[in-house]
Symmetry: C2
């Protein structure tokens, strides 16, 4: 939550998001309708919703829960915002086929597990708001500045997978907030 | 799409929807924003979005595709609207656990397959719009008047399953439109 300074911004695939110097993360609660929240005139805005998990098994979830770093940890002053869209081919796959690509072929959950102790992660779904959202997912990461290299490695591993062949739009914003 | 007469309305579990005599189904396309659509002052409204399938395997999908009756078939003048909410316990399950309850324990997909030739079905997701939607899903059914008994049987079979122990809100509207 709150304001973050943009340290670097790039789009790897698909449409570019106009460059910005700061981003503001707000919670769209019922108490605070979107219209009442700063900034009043953003250059762009994205929205997503946390939801039930769609791929992890109970055993994977338990492994993650045991080690997963929490959002908002002290010292985790670096963050990243990665909006992604997957291709129509991905969405035409059935659940078992998507799980096969995501984990059996790409080891997505396994890769995530190796970094989960240092890098906090929260996934937001966009695609279910409407068919005209620019991205399907927004993933939010938080970590300590000393873990930036580990974060690079995490992204490098994921982007080399079979699953990423289905990514047709991806941007990346590296962010920082003031130290605690 | 269009207006339907309500033949019967009841709520089986959870909150009741106020009784109405007609319902109007509209598509929230980009061309026709919700505000421009009739009726201007509904007693209540529900919204949902069709989305990717979340449980069927490729083999089940292919079986369904081979026999599934389409929405809008001539003569299918009866319809039903069934909004459902599932409990927090359901949503705390992982994907493999939900699939286990839905198919391995409850044979939901198998039951559906037995009726799919006569009863057209379209599932809409509500839960991903916001956490404050009154229901998680709206299922829409269409069938010929002669198949009303089969439709009763379908609902009876589903409601007797283990999966339905996770349903904490369910209403049912039986509808009709003018014959073709």
């Amino acid at each position: 939550m709150g304001a973050y300074r943009v340290r670097a911004q790039r789009c790897l695939t698909g449409e570019a998001l106009p460059h910005v110097s700061r981003i503001h993360i707000t919670a769209a609660t019922q108490d605070a309708p979107p219209g009442s929240q700063p900034p009043a005139q953003p250059q762009w805005s994205l929205r997503g919703i946390t939801s039930n998990e769609r791929y992890v098994t109970r055993s994977e979830k338990n492994q993650l829960a045991a080690i997963q770093q929490s959002i908002g940890a002290p010292g985790a002053t670096f963050a990243a915002l990665i909006p992604i869209r997957k291709s129509p081919e991905w969405w035409a796959l059935t659940q078992d086929e998507r799980r096969e690509v995501l984990q059996e072929q790409s080891r997505h959950i396994e890769i995530g597990l190796r970094y989960a102790g240092r890098i906090a992660r929260r996934l937001h779904h966009c695609r279910d708001f409407s068919e005209s959202e620019p991205f399907d997912f927004i993933t939010w990461f938080e970590y300590q500045p000393a873990d930036e290299r580990a974060f690079d490695d995490l992204l490098g591993e994921l982007r080399a997978t079979e699953e990423w062949r289905y990514v047709d739009s991806e941007c990346e914003l590296r962010l920082s907030r003031d130290a605690d």
